[in-house]
């Protein structure tokens, strides 16, 4: 079970540190765990793994396509690979390798894409994936996840190590807002219900979870009761929870650090259209490229804020 912290603050431990700690702990007990990177070991934070398990740590050089294929080949011999690059290069650059060598071949590969959306900050538009989840969304059977904080990330890495299939983990590298109490556990494919409400349901992922909780608190002050769901699994989306909250709240706001086309808004809307039609407003990136700037600047630039969620919530309610 999971528990939401009463106060949301920046975590003291970086996401990448939690990631590698979890991997090392898993690898101590399971010699099938292997880690691959494409000349970003210093960025992804997996250096401790390379030090502790040099025979199972592979720096492929700047060869993302080859890396994904090598990961697929390793898994065909029963190993459990975790391969990393920055989000755009771990997805759109290697879409066909993930599609054919991993998914179509029914192999067992975990791909980590770091620096989602505006968190790519100074690396700018070339490195700023607003489309990573969307790029992979239509690959049959793939699982797409975006952990919120280190607690959810640690649980997720352990959980995925024991599963079979192709998994994409969209991970913030640096310090996340701590949303969950230590030791929280989740269910893959099931939304975490962070707050109950009856007027509108905010469906949020990644850095937008903190904004969603802030927005819900603001709405509460204005007499609007907002539920908050954390759909850390984008695919498969939790259709049951969405139907349940369609009945409870009657309208939705999706909040994502991603293009609304092919992203969370698309996944939520498609599910609701099929099961429980309800108005859905989107907070996210509206079909634009990324650009350079601080994360704070870019959050404002692309309207990825609690204020935008509040406005969208009111609009969604007005459409009921």
């Amino acid at each position: 079970m999971y528990k939401v912290k009463s106060t949301i603050e920046k975590e003291s431990v970086e996401m990448r540190a939690a990631y590698v700690e979890t991997l090392c702990a898993l690898a101590e007990k399971d010699e099938r765990i292997v880690v691959l990177d494409a000349d970003l070991v210093g960025s992804s934070g997996v250096k401790p793994f390379f030090k502790q398990f040099p025979d199972r740590a592979i720096n492929c050089g700047i060869q993302e396509s080859n890396m994904i294929g090598v990961a697929a080949g390793l898994s065909a011999q029963g190993l459990i690979p975790f391969a990393h690059s920055f989000g755009p290069f771990a997805t759109r650059r290697v879409c066909d390798q993930i599609f054919i060598s991993c998914a179509y071949a029914k192999l067992n590969v975990r791909i980590l894409g770091s620096d989602p959306g505006v968190t790519a900050a100074y690396n700018g538009g070339t490195h700023m994936p607003f489309e990573d989840m969307g790029t992979l969304m239509s690959i049959p059977g793939i699982t797409l996840v975006e952990p919120t904080d280190t607690v959810q990330l640690r649980w997720l890495v352990k959980e995925l190590a024991g599963k079979y299939g192709v998994f994409y983990i969209r991970m913030l590298r640096k310090n996340a807002a701590g949303v969950f109490e230590a030791g929280s556990t989740f269910e893959l494919g099931k939304a975490a219900k962070l707050k109950e409400g009856k007027d509108v349901c905010i469906v949020a992922s990644g850095i937008m979870v903190e904004e969603a909780l802030k927005a819900a608190a603001q709405l509460e002050k204005e007499g609007v009761s907002a539920a908050v769901l954390n759909t850390f699994t984008w695919k498969p989306i939790d259709e049951e929870a969405l139907s349940e909250y369609a009945k409870k709240c009657g309208c939705f706001v999706t909040a994502e650090n991603h293009n609304v086309i092919g992203g969370l808004y698309s996944a939520v809307s498609a599910s609701l259209a099929k099961n429980a039609p309800a108005p859905v407003e989107a907070v996210g990136v509206f079909d634009e490229f990324g650009e350079v700037g601080t994360e704070a600047f870019l959050r404002e630039r692309f309207n990825l804020t609690a204020d935008a969620i509040v406005k969208a919530a009111k609009k969604a309610i007005s459409r009921k």
């Binding site: 292997v34 025979d55 199972r56 592979i58 492929c60 050089g61 060869q63 396509s65 080859n66 890396m67 994904i68 294929g69 090598v70 990961a71 697929a72 080949g73 390793l74 898994s75 065909a76 011999q77 029963g78 190993l79 066909d96 390798q97 599609f99 054919i100 060598s101 179509y104 071949a105 029914k106």
Partner: protein, 279 residues
């Protein structure tokens, strides 16, 4: 390992079955399927450590046919080895078949890797070979690339990777049959001298007649003696080898024909098989 004569017979059996298989369908990637028949004969005639009764045996050698469109001759070989009944060959490319146009590890017993998007088998073969190193196993991974396939950038990513990781358990082949879909490889995209290229990338490289059973055996035996680097055996081959109709057609990468057009080629291949048996 079969004797050289037995391997020659096996090769012609593979050729005849491949022709019947594609002939029954009436179209297919006939050229590249036939140019690797002698190699398949050597690999499955004893070179590879395999057990057709136990296709998932962990200690087996692996073959990645990265030029996945050559599936039909690989299927013929697997059927002749007993992985599945020979009658199944006539289901090639039919709806619901276990034998799709391009190799698929999830559908066909004995197929070790899914291929078809060119260049990708390079990397998956490397992954298989690297896994054997990590698991401290002594098995080999074999890889067949097409010469046209070498246009793909991913091939050259792998070409740099495998020597760096000292994958001496990876033995690769380029089927230098000199044609790709649109015509002659040298006209479509000239790749220069393959031996120079692979040698420059750090591979133990040799070029041989790809239809010479003894030369293939010797090249593989030599490759196994080389430590610390992968081996590349460039097979100088004829696209459509042993099929009169294909050899007389340019390009013969993919052909469509009527039963009466392919029948004489099948008869001639059968005659060659009988002659090799009697020799």
């Amino acid at each position: 390992m079969k004797t050289n004569k037995e391997l020659r017979v096996f090769a012609e059996e593979i050729r005849v079955e491949t022709l019947k298989e594609i002939g029954h369908l009436g179209f297919g990637h006939i050229g590249g399927a036939l140019s690797i028949v002698e190699l398949l004969s050597v690999l499955y005639g004893g070179e590879m450590r395999i057990d057709p009764k136990n296709p998932d045996w962990d200690d087996r050698d692996r073959l990645v046919v990265s030029k996945g469109h050559s599936g039909p001759s690989v299927y013929a070989t697997l059927a002749l080895c007993g992985y599945f009944p020979k009658e199944m060959l006539l289901t090639l490319n039919q709806g619901g078949t276990h034998l799709p146009s391009h190799c698929d590890r999830t559908k066909t017993p004995g197929i070790d890797m899914t291929t078809g998007s060119l260049g990708q088998g390079m990397s998956t073969a490397i992954g298989l070979a690297l896994a054997s190193k990590i698991k401290k196993k002594d098995n080999y991974t074999y890889l067949i690339l097409g010469d046209g396939e070498c246009d793909e950038g991913q091939v050259w990513e792998g070409a740099a990777f495998a020597p760096h990781f000292k994958l001496d358990n990876l033995i690769a082949f380029v089927d230098l049959n000199k044609q790709q879909l649109d015509g002659a490889c040298d006209d479509i995209l000239y790749m220069g001298d393959m031996v120079d290229k692979w040698t420059a990338f750090g591979w133990n490289t040799v070029k041989i007649n790809g239809h010479d059973i003894e030369a293939i055996k010797e090249a593989i035996a030599n490759a196994k003696k080389v430590k610390g680097k992968p081996s590349m055996i460039i097979l100088d081959t004829v696209k459509g080898k042993g099929c009169e109709l294909a050899e007389q057609t340019f390009p013969c990468h993919h052909m469509k024909f009527k039963p009466e057009q392919i029948a004489p080629s099948i008869e001639k291949a059968e005659a060659v098989l009988e002659a090799v048996k009697k020799a």
